[in-house]
């Protein structure tokens, strides 16, 4: 762990914490390190405690760490005044006070003494002593005000950080030069330099320094949202309709910025029902289209989602989970929408659902979602969460070095339509009950194509699309649609690389950890630690949720004696899914749940696992639910 820096910058929202941390992360990447960030912020525009953690290491990092080892506590310019009876307490000191619990022993603290009074923090000095923290109070606000404007105190903080870590400021200066110009740039550079100098003159008591590393290939710093947007663009998606909602807004915004530039269309509409309906309408008219939302916004898409299933209109929806139910905690991650996304909308589900485990998978699986949606003519959903959405990490640039695949899947050209089956009246048999190809897919036509006219309807329908309640037709159509799910499962099973990620640092592990989506990296890190401690444990990160990878999960579960299912919700939805799909293994499946608004830390998974082995207590932030019948 000595080769790792976990730098946390804390302040009020609206104080520029985000962009400052992003620059610092990028600078570290440019210095040859692997970087991973974790954002924590309140549902409030100005003020309210927020932080970003930047973890940097010479080795690849796939998770936040357990706590941090460097805290830069800025002031909160929008803190509410303390007042008796007010439940929000002294907000001004939160950037320091709220971040001490997670600070590792021997960690470094820099705080803005211009804004934060440590006297107000109970037992501050005792805690510093106890934990061997190294504290550097600096009047950052003053430094910034002296040379420029108060808001530039973040820059002073970064300068101080550089000095304390003996980290060269070159990359940071370059990045500043990219983002600003003129007087603003100059003043910032001055402040940066001055802070560095001032701190450099101090006597250091700590050992922590910025690690030094180098990359094998060129790296890019991307978030899950970037990756989803890029996956969509590379698959030829040129239409998005949406309505803002945290955290889905990130993908929507990225697409809205890119699409007009490359000849596509983005529509911000009146609500999410309309958003989904527009995506369906655009897809029907022959464009690769997407929409998406979070929680309540996705709930509003339930009915259109079913329309896409019944009319076999390809569409990709992304769902960015946040803590629920209802409005919940809008800026906090959770994995509580799993069942909702799998089953919402009346009738049997007929959709694809992927939950990528990291940015590279988000790119890859968004592409696969489009591919399957357009090949099999159904909605495909990319389910992720506030964590994956915003976390930046270094990814090999080569991951994106792929050709675009803009084709429309199982769509016919006019020439092919002319050859295809028609009703005597000339109507195209868009929904053949027994298409020749396997997989239940009946190729489609697009309005405006000659000879392709048909009726799309949410009612049960004949091959030409006309409404029908004939029992034989019903059975044939429903079975054909459901058959597509089996075909997709087969297709995915047959691929070289699956959507499940097995992590097995030691051979012959007889304990397993299962998780889905964004917790994959954290679990893997925990597995590594457990393996290092001599535990025979391996993990499976599941991304394909519907159709469910029965064979893979069965094989994994058969190979272990007991397994821990790690997920961020209160009712063990993913464990429930495994049990539902496989109908057994319940007696070997323990759950480790977390739902306090923060994602798992690797240490919590380690402790949760030890509960099975040693009967220890799990971390107090998590809940352990033993297997039934144990």
């Amino acid at each position: 762990m000595s080769e790792e820096l976990v730098w946390r910058i804390a302040g009020g929202s609206g104080d520029g914490i985000d962009s400052t941390s992003q620059n610092f992360a990028k600078a570290l990447m440019r210095s040859g390190l692997h970087v991973f960030t974790h954002r924590h912020y309140p549902s409030r525009i100005r003020g309210g405690h927020t932080y970003v953690e930047v973890r940097a290491s010479t080795e690849p990092v796939r998770s936040r760490g357990d706590g941090h080892n460097f805290l830069l506590a800025l002031g909160d310019s929008f803190a509410r005044n303390p007042q008796e009876e007010a439940y929000y307490g002294t907000e001004e000191i939160k950037p320091l006070a709220e971040n001490l619990d997670d600070l590792r022993e021997g960690g470094v603290i820099v705080y803005d003494e211009g804004l934060i009074d440590v006297e107000e923090i109970p037992d501050f000095d005792e805690r510093v002593e106890e934990n061997d923290w190294h504290v550097y109070p600096l009047d950052l606000r003053e430094m910034a005000r002296d040379m420029g404007r108060e808001v530039m105190r973040n820059t002073a903080g970064v300068g101080a950080t550089g000095a304390l870590l003996e980290y060269d400021l070159g990359h940071i200066e370059d990045l500043m030069a990219d983002a600003m110009s003129g007087e603003v740039l100059e003043t910032n550079l001055e402040i940066l330099e001055a802070a560095y100098q001032q701190v450099d003159d101090l006597e250091f008591t700590h050992d922590l320094r910025a690690p030094e590393g180098s990359h094998e290939g060129e790296q890019v710093l991307v978030s899950g949202s970037n990756a989803i947007a890029y996956g969509a663009l590379d698959e030829g998606c040129r239409f998005i309709a949406g309505y803002p909602m945290t955290p889905w807004t990130e993908v929507f915004t990225l697409m809205s910025q890119h699409l007009p530039e490359i000849g596509g269309i983005s529509e911000q509409v009146e609500d999410e029902i309309a958003a989904a309906a527009l995506a369906i309408g655009a897809s029907h008219a022959g464009v690769k289209a997407m929409s998406g939302s979070s929680g309540g916004g996705f709930a509003l898409m339930s009915e259109p989602l079913g329309l896409a299933e019944m009319t076999e209109t390809p569409v990709v929806l992304v769902e960015a989970m946040r803590a629920g139910p209802s409005t919940g905690m809008p800026t906090k991650p959770e994995q509580g929408d799993l069942e909702h996304v799998l089953y919402t909308s009346q009738g049997d589900s007929n959709r694809v659902v992927f939950a990528p485990g990291n940015a590279a998978e988000a790119y890859e699986q968004t592409r696969t979602a489009f591919e399957l949606a357009y090949d099999y003519q159904l909605p495909a959903i990319v389910l992720y969460d506030q964590k994956l959405s915003g976390e930046l990490r270094t990814v090999d640039e080569s991951v994106f070095d792929r050709e675009p695949t803009p084709d429309l899947g199982s769509t016919l050209s006019e020439a092919e339509i002319a050859e295809a089956a028609h009703h005597a009246s000339g109507k195209f048999r868009r929904f053949k009950r027994d298409p020749d190809d396997d997989g239940g897919v009946s190729p489609r036509s697009i309005p405006g194509q000659q000879g392709g006219r048909f009726l799309a309807t949410g009612n049960e329908h004949t091959p030409e699309g006309h409404i029908s309640e004939d029992t034989d037709n019903r059975v044939a159509q429903l079975e054909r649609r459901l058959r597509k799910m089996d075909a997709i499962r087969d297709e995915l099973d047959g691929r070289e690389s699956t959507h499940q990620t097995l992590h097995e640092p030691v051979e012959g592990a007889d304990y397993g950890i299962l998780t889905f989506g964004s917790q994959q990296g954290t679990v893997e890190e925990a597995v590594d630690r457990l393996a290092a401690d001599g535990h025979a444990v391996k993990s499976l990160g599941v991304s394909a949720l519907m159709p469910f990878p029965e064979a893979e999960v069965t094989a994994f579960l058969e190979s272990v004696d007991e397994a821990l299912v790690v997920e961020m919700n209160g009712s063990a939805q993913f464990r429930g899914l495994i049990q539902k799909e496989l109908g057994r293994f319940g007696p070997k499946l323990h759950s480790l749940l977390k739902y306090n608004g923060n994602p798992f830390e690797p240490g919590e998974v380690v402790e949760g696992f030890e509960t099975i082995i040693d009967g220890d207590e799990p971390a107090p932030t998590t809940r352990f639910v033993p297997a039934a019948g144990d």
């Binding site: 030829g236 596509g264 009915e303 309005p447 006219r453």
Partner: protein, 311 residues
């Protein structure tokens, strides 16, 4: 070469080409006003020489929503209240399509009211026909947003306490650039108005009075009707928002007093359609989006070339 050769063929089209071989006879009740819409729409499309395969008819759910079961073209029978967002996206995706949306008064002014308001305000270039029978037909006769106050139904056994909405005024206030009312009992006017609406470059709203003899027996059959353009008593300028507004109010009120006023109420010719506005600001390509997928020469950008900002 276009991927959509049904579009813009500009040939002579017979109205019977719009009669589907599969369901030539509609299942609407005898005497239903919906037959009138079907007839007028077939007539209008033939008059305009539209090829059935360049037309996309998007409907909601209701008796009215079955329109595209009996009209031969590309069709999308969507879900209750959502015809407009589906239709307007199709138009954005392929502006060369002739897009018509249609549905009932419940569908369009009830559950779909918000889409009506926002689609009108955006002035999408399409035609929207609302079958206004002042009732929920398909679900067997409940009060609708246009049912008169006092209207008795199974769900309002003592008579509705609600004043009806004002469909024409709402369209105008929201931003529709062509607003008309016609009636199933007046097939010639209906066809003329449909032709104008389809030709209009912007959002054209037609409140189409369609009697429902099954559930709205006691309601008027919309006769006698008066064409406000044909009658000297009604003198107003359909290009003037204020005059149009006043005339609409009067028309809406008088319907419930037994006077059926029909005709054109508003026509704004210089307002750009949404597609034009969007192209103007550079948020929509010149070539129809749908054509890109059939254009072998089209250069598809890839994300790899956008990675600079991440380095």
């Amino acid at each position: 070469m276009s991927g959509f050769n049904a579009i813009g063929s500009d040939r002579e089209v017979e109205r019977e080409e719009f009669t589907p071989g599969i369901e030539p006879q509609a299942t609407w009740c005898p005497g239903c006003g919906d037959f009138g819409v079907l007839k007028a729409l077939k007539g209008a499309m033939a008059e305009l020489g539209r090829d059935p395969e360049e037309v996309l008819l998007v409907t909601g759910i209701g008796c009215s929503g079955k329109l595209n079961s009996y009209f031969e073209s590309y069709g999308f029978h969507t879900i209750h209240g959502r015809s407009l967002p589906v239709a307007r996206a199709a138009k954005l995706a392929n502006p060369d399509l002739e897009v018509v949306a249609a549905g009932g008064d419940g569908d369009g002014y009830g559950i779909g009211g918000n889409h009506f308001m926002h689609t009108a305000r955006e002035n999408h270039d399409m035609t929207y026909i609302v079958f206004n029978n002042e009732i929920f037909g398909l679900t067997k006769g409940q009060t609708s947003p246009t049912s008169p106050k006092g209207h008795e139904s199974k769900t309002q056994p003592h008579g509705s306490a609600k004043s009806p909405i004002r469909p024409l005024s709402l369209a105008l206030t929201s931003g529709a650039s062509y607003v008309a009312r016609t009636a199933a009992v007046n097939p010639n006017q209906a066809q003329e108005i449909l032709v104008e609406a389809i030709e209009h470059d912007g959002f054209a709203h037609i409140d189409f009075l369609t009697q429902c003899p099954t559930w709205n027996k006691d309601a008027k059959q919309y006769v006698p009707y008066i064409d406000v353009q044909q009658n000297d008593d009604y003198d107003f300028d359909i290009a003037d928002r204020g005059e149009a507004a006043e005339m609409m109010q009067r028309t809406e009120r008088s319907l419930y007093e037994g006077e059926v006023l029909t005709g054109r109420f508003y026509h704004e010719t210089d307002r750009p359609s949404y597609g034009e506005e969007k192209r103007e600001v550079g948020e929509m390509p010149e070539e129809p989006l749908a054509e890109q997928y059939h254009d072998d020469d089209y250069e598809w950008e890839r994300s790899y070339d956008l990675l600079d900002t991440h380095k």
